[in-house]
């Protein structure tokens, strides 16, 4: 969920903004060079320059205009970390750090924000990056005729005013994570796109074949379905790290997992993003490679349609979870890339409590819970029944091997407690259509997806009068609504942490979903490529400070 969509009453907005401002100021000192030195202090800066880094990705990035949907996981990283610059960067622990904006001021009543832009950043066509570009980006991101996917980031932003070439002022309605949107949406060049009508924006060559950027890398070429090539931007501000070390960064599309692994092992790829789980062992055992894995915001789950009598009882839902051997599933399909989920909040998040434990795998307790809910096998056919109706349901499963395998394992596990699960595979668009259908034509479905970095899950669980398309389970809790409503406005971290944990624990208790596992992402990296670090903020975040050992070029 991105940004608040429902009105939230804030306790002390001024304090929120003041706190955020203090964080920004603290991070202002450019510690970038120091950060880059880690991992290879013996090699001087000058010797780190040069070489091409070839990165294997698994799916085509159709375009790099952030305003044009669909949002794409790798594409968004290219926009944010390679080609363009957002105003603000997401630091460690999700603190805000200056980036294109050198600093920002917030008015006493927290309704005005002023960004002071760097004056040493230029677009790749030589024009300077100015406040007009920021105003343009804001106007387009909030334009109702443009289906910008993350419009909600700026829902509480009301107007923009260009003060001078490098100063831009916004009027906002205060909330705590107000800067988050500016870490995600990079600034776009008005002098290139300003005259393009809204309807022509999606098909403008800017996004696919002629982007004009201001980021650490510049666009070189894009061959559809094949590759994107970027080169180091020699004019990238020295204070922000200067020109990237590598001369070129190429992203190659290799859809087949085994082909991609073979390319990595042969040395024709320097980095392979999203190593398929079955290849993890191969990467680990190859002395010329190393595996970087990190908790991502993605989790796998089964959503129970609690509107149906089968799943309306919390005891039944907990029993179903406890009947599933989730560890065996994790080992079999993810080869250990992940951890058992303990609710909607994963270990990637700063509010995650490491004391949380998943519901145990305990078929006996599951049987007892089902019996307590009135489910017994009266006709001796091995399937529980109640009021003459068997416990039988259909699980919608994406038509992907991993998910099919999981469904089969679940089927076997549930069989042992007398529950008859019938898997039904659907291709992704069909599944997405079915689960968002207002008539809720499903018993349960299996899915995994990326949680937004700012947790606001009201669209899944809210009791509000009008049900949104994402309320898959139909479960809600009035007390939880109050908690969720106060999360976006919570000004200090300890309060926010408490609220988030209450939220996560409440959902975990009610099990409207069976949270299966939080998924780790893994990348294979060739030894000799240094300065690579990856976390939930993205694999390409540090690309500008990657360097290739001279012997490995």
């Amino acid at each position: 969920m991105s940004g608040p969509r429902r009105t939230t009453v804030l306790a002390r907005p001024a304090a929120v903004l003041a706190a955020a401002l203090a964080l920004g100021a603290a991070a202002c000192g450019g510690g970038e060079r120091a950060g880059r030195g880690a991992g290879g202090a013996a090699v001087p800066d000058s010797a780190r320059r040069g070489g091409t880094v070839v990165v294997g990705i698994r799916a085509e990035i159709p375009g790099v205009d952030p305003l044009v949907p669909p949002p794409d996981y790798m594409g968004a990283q290219v926009e944010r970390y390679v080609l363009f610059m957002p105003l603000v960067q997401l630091g460690p622990d999700f603190r805000f750090q200056p980036w294109l904006a050198r600093s920002w001021d917030v008015s006493e009543d927290s309704t005005r924000v002023v960004f002071h832009l760097r004056d040493d950043v230029t677009w790749s066509d030589g024009k300077p990056v100015t406040a007009a570009d920021v105003a343009y980006t804001y106007r387009k991101a909030t334009d109702p005729d443009i289906p910008f996917p993350n419009r909600a980031y700026f829902e509480r932003w009301d107007s923009v005013q260009v003060v001078d070439a490098h100063t831009v002022r916004f009027r906002i309605r205060p909330y705590s994570q107000f800067l988050f949107g500016w870490t995600q949406v990079p600034i776009l060049p008005e002098h290139v796109l300003g005259d393009v009508p809204d309807s022509a924006l999606a098909t403008h060559p800017f996004g696919t074949s002629a982007p004009v950027g201001d980021g650490p890398f510049r666009f070189v070429s894009h061959e559809q379905g094949d590759r994107w090539v970027f080169e180091a931007n020699p004019d990238f501000p020295e204070e922000l790290g200067g020109r990237p070390y590598v001369d070129r960064l190429a992203l190659r599309v290799i859809p087949d997992g085994s082909t991609a692994l073979a390319e990595l092992a042969r040395g024709d790829l320097d980095v392979l993003m999203n190593v398929p789980p079955e290849g993890v062992g191969r990467v680990r055992s190859d002395s010329s490679l190393r595996l970087l894995s990190f908790p991502s915001s993605s989790y796998a789950f089964v959503a129970w349609n609690t509107r149906r009598p089968l799943f309306s009882d919390v005891r039944v839902r907990r029993a179903l979870t406890m009947a599933m051997d989730r560890k065996a599933m994790l080992d079999a399909v993810r080869h250990g890339l992940g951890s058992l989920a303990t609710g909607p909040l994963g270990p990637w998040h700063w509010a995650y409590d490491s004391a949380w434990r998943p519901l145990p795998f305990d078929p006996d307790s599951a049987r007892a819970l089902l019996a307590a809910a009135g489910w017994r096998d009266t006709d001796g056919d091995g399937v529980l029944d109640r009021d003459g109706r068997p416990f039988r349901f259909t699980l919608l499963v994406p038509d992907v091997r991993v998910r099919r395998d999981m469904a089969v394992m679940m089927q076997a596990d549930l069989r042992k407690v007398g529950v008859d699960l019938r898997p039904a595979t659907r291709d992704f668009a069909a599944l997405a259509g079915a689960i968002q259908d207002a008539s809720r034509p499903y018993d349960a479905f299996l899915l995994s997806w990326n949680e937004d970095l700012v947790i606001d899950d009201r669209d899944y669980w809210s009791c509000g009068p009008d049900e949104g398309p994402l309320q898959f389970s139909g479960w809600c809790d009035r007390a939880l609504d109050a908690v969720m409503d106060s999360i976006p406005g919570a000004m200090d971290r300890s309060l926010k942490r408490r609220l988030l944990r209450t939220y996560a624990e409440t959902v975990e208790r009610a099990q409207p979903y069976t949270f299966l596992f939080d998924e780790d992402r893994a990348a294979g990296v060739r030894r000799g490529l240094e300065g690579v670090s990856m976390d939930v903020r993205g694999e390409l975040r540090t690309a500008r400070s990657w360097w290739v050992r001279p012997g490995a070029r």
Binding site: M1, R5, T52, V54, E60, P62, D65, V68, P69, P70, P71, P144, D145, P147, F148, P149, N150, R151, A202, T203, P205, G207, T208, S209, S221, E223, Q224, G225, D226, R227, V229, R252, V253, I254, P255, D256, S258, T259, A262, E263, A265, R266, D268, R426, D427, F428, A429, A430, L431, A432, G433, A434, W449, N450, E451, D452, D459, G468, P469, L470
Partner: protein, 328 residues
């Protein structure tokens, strides 16, 4: 011949129209639409609605169909939903790649297939014939994607890749643009080797079987014995007298192999990261990218129709007994 070609082309019009209409219906019958494929917990429903309006998906189906037909007849295929470019440009990028792959495979299929078939027929029941038969039947039964993966594993073993560093994915090397003209040409050829083998070998094995059969039928006929009796060299007998007649049934296979090839590219292009039509079509179907799917289906249909026509015409060229249209 001209009239015959004209009639065949005219007949193709309702056929192709039927193909695209059926495709249109099937696409819209399948659950989900392009915006459900964008489905993502982070996108609010009103944005999805706006997307749907921008793509024109909120209009009634017949209107969408007529609109597509109009844009199709004016030669403008519309814009790809998922690639944000004109469909003509999207296909213009992918089609030559697939044609290159298929054309080279087709040459491989017929040259290798015929050569092996001839050798087998001439040396019927020899150890070589038996070995080639077993080999051909094995290859014929091997699915292309599996063969592709095995080839990739084979050339990736350190022992093989030390002396034969064949590329296993993509169409060009990453430093392609820095190569000289000869280097570039060689680079492209090297990238073609594995996909062409994976795509064509099974079909080549099939052609070899046909060729062997056709050749055997011819080689025992009287005029061949006559040719031998005249004292012609065996090479001349086989390659001139026998081959011409034996080729007739094989040439008609051409039309059959085209759809097979295009079908095969879908899998082969995924395995070898070949940015062609097969992969484009596959991804577009998953993304419900209607304009691209429609245009691609039409093109594949047209190519198959054209392929069949060419093979029928070729038949007339190689067999003087066949005459089309003139009623002689």
């Amino acid at each position: 011949m001209v009239r015959y070609t004209g009639r065949r082309l005219l007949e193709a019009v309702p056929l192709l129209l039927g193909i695209v209409t059926l495709t249109f219906l099937l696409l819209h019958l399948a659950p989900g639409d392009p915006t459900t494929a964008y489905f993502n917990p982070n996108i609010p429903p009103d944005v999805i609605e706006q997307m749907r309006r921008n793509l024109g998906l909120d209009r009634p189906l017949p209107v969408q169909y007529l609109d597509w037909l109009r844009s199709f007849f004016t030669g403008h295929f519309g814009y790809s939903f998922s690639q944000h470019r004109p469909v003509a440009a999207v296909i213009g990028d992918a089609l030559p790649n697939t044609l290159l792959l298929s054309a080279v495979s087709l040459v491989l299929i017929f040259v290798v297939g015929c050569a092996v078939g001839i050798v087998q027929a001439v040396r019927q029941y020899s150890a070589l014939d038996q070995a080639l038969t077993v080999g051909a039947l094995t290859l014929y039964s091997v699915p292309g994607f599996w063969l592709g993966l095995m080839l990739i594993l084979l050339v990736s073993t350190p022992w093989v890749s030390s002396w034969l560093h064949l590329p296993i994915s993509g169409m060009t090397s990453i430093d392609h643009e820095f190569m000289g003209p000869w280097g570039r040409a060689l680079d492209r050829v090297r990238h073609l080797v594995l996909p062409v083998i994976a795509l064509g070998l099974a079909s080549a094995a099939g052609v070899a079987r046909y060729m062997r059969g056709a050749m055997l039928e011819v080689i025992h006929q009287d005029y061949i014995r006559t040719a031998r009796a005249k004292g012609l060299s065996e090479r001349r007998v086989v390659l001139r007298h026998a081959l011409r007649n034996a080729l007739l049934p094989v040439v008609s296979l051409l039309g059959l192999y085209l759809p097979l090839l295009f079908g095969g590219t879908v899998v082969i292009e995924v395995v070898f990261s070949w940015p062609g039509m097969g992969r484009l079509l596959y991804n577009s179907i998953l993304a419900r990218d209607y304009p691209v799917v429609m245009a691609a289906t039409f093109l594949f249909g047209a190519l198959v129709v054209a392929g069949n026509l060419v093979s029928d015409l070729l038949y007339a060229v190689v067999d003087p007994r066949v005459r089309y249209g003139e009623g002689r």
